[in-house]
């Protein structure tokens, strides 16, 4: 359990004698034993969805390793050079040193293309894993006290990951990345008052200039990773401090954590998992092309390729730019107001802020100040789950918007039709998703309640002496039943006048939100329910408590 600091017994093998001596050496200089004692048997609960954050962490390690290799060969400057490398279709072309060195990495360095593909695939996986991890946290309510702050830090990590992704996407200075930067330039210029100058300063003059690649390179390999690693460190420390959440289950309470100890089982699984994630990334990278910069050619402001899109995690922003209604640009008070750029930015900004502060909103509505270490099953928080589904739908529609041209060509539709449909879906989709999800959650809860009260249908039909046929319901065992009944419900807030006998607007608003959240709800089965059923043959299929 802890590292032994006593001299090993004489019978010990040579190997363990060496381990003991080494441990002793280190501990005498670092008090490492304290750390091992503290953390070595910490418990980590076991559920597949708890591994998603690790996927992000491990992809990040893969990104760091492959990225370091790439920096050895990449030349982050925009000096114009003539390409004389081995790739025939670019021979003799003028291009930036950045693009030329990226071609060299791909065509002249052994393993260079592999590392480029590892880096890029790992980056896509990194952001995707963060996204899925956030969805898991959201839908299980794992952001509740005491983890609100860690949610915010995780959110910051998500933003940083997207920023890392975008700066990296722009570095090769090929046609695709150059046109991506062109869009950024156009968006910046659309900002009121500061837009023109922001773009001018960022690009060091007029677009495209000759400094944007080195500047983004500094951000990409220095500033952003530094902040990212720092935030990641805090994120992990807080995971240790708060301990991991667990799903409700027999023997699992809000006051304990049940699972595998870090040493050895969890270390074996998680350590092995790192190699698996890395291995899967390398496997994908060795078989599937990503960002074939050799097709795109060096950046030139005149050409463009059909299907010019950002990497997936920026897609929602590109989709918002595509789906904005026509004609939203005005000249007012002698200045140009580009609402065709501002509205997408404002909408996305609000969406992102809502995601970041959601834990505080929910905490305010419920007024619940207790610590929550049991993860909710999504169905047991119908309104939250429905809100999440609406948010996912909103994001997905914008995301689909970024691929509207490919949707049109692949499903033989017109691009105008696809755009109009998606424009409608931006509004309707979330509403439909909200309603459907909420009903589905309530229905599932009802079913749970039904099963907890009456057991499940065994499929065995029995004829009673009176001639009546019944299907035998079998009761769940205590362990199974506990999974269905161990959740807590909230009731809508009652408006109460304050000390002066007044009811403030805030209170009213909170009560309305609370009613919206908790008006429709299914109470967990209690022992009273079961007793009533047993004693009085009180038969009622379902109770919709409306207090």
């Amino acid at each position: 359990m802890t590292v032994t600091t006593r001299p090993a017994p004489a019978t010990a093998s040579k190997g363990s004698r060496f381990t003991g001596a080494a441990a002793n050496y280190i501990d005498e200089r670092t008090s490492m034993s304290g750390l091992v004692k503290e953390l070595g048997r910490k418990i980590f609960p076991d559920h597949w969805s708890f591994m998603l954050g690790e996927v992000a962490l491990y992809s990040f390690v893969a990104i760091l390793l492959s990225g370091t290799f790439l920096t050895f060969f990449f030349d982050p400057t925009m000096t114009q050079v003539q390409y004389n490398g081995t790739f025939v279709p670019m021979k003799g072309l003028d291009m930036s040193a950045a693009y030329s060195s990226t071609l060299n990495i791909s065509f002249d360095i052994r393993g260079g293309l592999l590392m480029r593909q590892v880096h890029h695939w790992a980056a896509l996986l990194f952001v995707a894993a963060i996204g899925l991890h956030m969805l898991r946290i959201f839908f299980t309510g794992a952001f509740r006290k005491p983890r609100e702050l860690n949610w915010v830090i995780g959110f910051v990590l998500f933003i940083l990951a997207m920023a890392e992704g975008f700066t990296g996407y722009s570095l090769p200075d090929d046609l695709l990345s150059g046109n991506g930067l062109r869009i950024i330039d156009g968006m910046l210029k659309g900002l009121p008052v500061v837009g023109t100058w922001t773009s001018y300063l960022l690009f060091g003059g007029e677009f495209p200039g000759s400094v944007i690649v080195p500047r983004l390179f500094s951000l990409h390999i220095l500033l952003l990773p530094a902040i990212l690693v720092a935030a990641l460190g805090i994120h992990l420390v807080l995971v240790v401090v708060n301990k991991h959440t667990q799903f409700a289950g027999p023997g699992r309470t809000n006051d304990n954590v049940v699972g595998d100890p870090i040493l050895p089982v969890f270390a074996g699984k998680a350590g092995g998992f790192f190699f698996i994630v890395f291995g899967v990334i390398v496997l994908i990278a060795s078989f599937f092309t990503i960002n074939p910069i050799w097709n795109y050619g060096p950046y030139d402001p005149s050409p463009i390729s059909a299907g010019t899109q950002p990497d997936w995690y920026i897609g929602f922003a590109d989709g918002a730019l595509r789906l904005v209604p026509p004609g939203l640009e005005f000249v007012l008070w002698g200045h140009t107001w580009s609402f065709n750029i501002l509205i997408p930015m404002i909408v996305l900004g609000l969406f992102i802020v809502l995601v970041a502060i959601y834990p505080f909103i929910e905490a305010w509505i419920t007024g619940d100040k207790r610590e929550h270490h049991l993860a909710d099953r999504p169905r047991n928080a119908p309104t939250r789950t429905a809100i999440g589904a609406a948010g996912v739908t909103f994001y997905a529609v914008l995301w689909a918007g970024a691929g509207s041209d490919l949707i049109a060509t692949h499903f033989a539709l017109s691009i105008e039709g696809v755009t109009h449909t998606l424009q409608a879906l931006v509004f309707l989709g979330p509403i439909i998703a909200y309603l459907v999800t909420k009903r589905a959650c309530l229905a599932l809860q009802k079913k749970d309640r039904e099963i907890a009260l009456h057991g499940f249908e065994s499929g065995r039909i029995v004829r009673l002496p009176g001639g009546e046929f019944i299907e035998v319901h079998e009761q769940l065992d205590d362990y199974e039943k506990w999974k269905l009944v161990s959740f807590s419900e909230y009731k809508p807030l009652m408006i109460r006048p304050d000390a002066q006998g007044r009811i403030g607007a805030g209170q009213r608003f909170r009560a309305r939100l609370s009613r919206w959240f908790f008006e429709d709800r299914i109470a967990p089965v209690t022992s009273t329910d079961v007793e009533r059923l047993r004693d009085h043959h009180y038969r009622r299929a379902i109770s919709f408590r409306t207090r």
Binding site: I183, G190, D255, G272, L321, V331, H335, T336
Partner: protein, 357 residues
């Protein structure tokens, strides 16, 4: 973290302890007094490897087999690096592909062998007994908090931070303004020239010949046949110092339509030449090249955000997020029959900006 009283308890019934009394408000949560009791951890599940020593030996062999496989993968990766080199010279795509693939296969086998082996080891051979550990409130204990408060109090007294208001206020003030130089120092990220002036002008001026992109050869009016489209750059762009910056503003599309198809405004009638029209190629939304010309419908489509422009109507927007029509370049022919610009664009090209109007 600093809770020394944590003990790992083997999972038995003792894991379920009575909840600590409520210290925090449950808000609107319903705290049911008649909730079910937690039945406690189910008994430990015995695996085949726990029951059957033969299965255990098989599992152990599999784990070490996977680690052997990983070693083989590593060796293969090194060999692949050497025996699948990138062939120097033309058309080496296939050798790059082989190098990438075989090196990658070696590395992934090496990584996956370790990974799957370790996980398999943990799952089948290490203890599968679930362990329970008690949680404690994240909040520090009252004593700890009191001690922390005491430290702040003492340091406040010793420093006089609360008492010496002038010192405190000036310090806060000094700290607040100290980052300002960092902001000011960003000024030289860009040259001194006013961006608005730069954005309002392009390389086009009276008499500049329209030339083909990328060759820079001039275009005769008679070269531009009906239904064709030319991607055009101004003459002399190749010699310009800021080639890309100028090209990003000056790129032009040249099209010939039947003159009767063009619905030209009265004051812009002489901006075209025998049905030949020239429009800026830079989208007025966010600046992608609007290069997709459909010669039958005479529509231009931007591939980035699908704005569509009608060439017959001075490139007015007919679909998509852009608002303004593409700026038109007035053209005519010079004495030798080459197409030339009559002037610069009459308005700034490309995406809108604050100072534009």
């Amino acid at each position: 973290m600093a809770q020394d009283d944590e003990e790992s308890v083997a999972a038995t019934d003792s894991a379920v302890e009575v909840s600590t009394p409520q210290e925090f408000s449950p808000g609107t949560a319903v705290v049911a007094s008649d909730a079910f009791a937690n039945p406690g951890l189910p008994p430990r599940h015995e695996r085949v490897t726990d029951l059957d020593p033969k299965k255990e030996r098989t599992a152990a062999r599999r784990v070490s087999g996977l680690f052997y496989l990983s070693i083989a993968g590593t060796i293969f990766a090194i060999i692949a690096y050497i025996i699948f080199p990138i062939e120097p010279g033309a058309a080496n795509g296939d050798s790059v592909r082989r190098n990438t693939m075989f090196l990658g296969i070696g590395l992934s086998v090496a990584l996956l062998g370790i990974g799957i082996g370790a996980v398999y080891w943990a799952k089948t051979l290490m203890s599968n007994e679930e362990v329970s550990e008690n949680r404690h409130h994240t909040r520090g204990s009252d004593e700890t908090r009191a001690a922390a408060v005491e430290i702040f109090k003492v340091s406040n007294e010793e420093s006089g931070f609360g008492r010496r208001t002038l010192i405190r206020r000036t310090l806060i003030g000094a700290l607040a303004v100290s980052p300002l130089p960092a902001v000011v120092m960003l000024r030289d990220l860009a040259p001194a020239a006013d961006p608005v002036k730069l954005l309002s002008h392009t390389l086009w001026k009276e008499g500049t010949r329209l030339t083909r992109d990328p060759t820079g050869t001039p275009i005769k009016a008679s070269d531009v046949t009906l239904g064709s489209v030319f991607h055009v750059i101004p003459e002399g762009l190749g010699e310009s110092e800021d080639k890309l910056e100028e090209k990003a503003k000056a790129a032009v599309l040249l099209m010939r339509l039947k003159p009767e198809d063009l619905h030209e405004q009265e004051d812009r009638k002489d901006w075209s030449y025998q049905g030949i029209v020239a429009y800026s190629k830079i989208c007025t939304h966010v600046g992608c090249p609007v290069a997709l010309y459909e010669q039958q419908s005479h529509h231009l489509l931007c591939p980035c955000h699908q704005s569509q422009f009608d060439v017959t109507n001075h490139c007015e927007v007919i679909f998509g997020p852009a608002k303004r029509p593409l700026p038109q370049l007035p053209i005519s022919v010079d004495a030798e029959g080459y197409l030339v610009a009559q002037s610069d664009f009459h308005e700034p090209v490309g995406p809108s900006f604050w100072e534009r109007s």
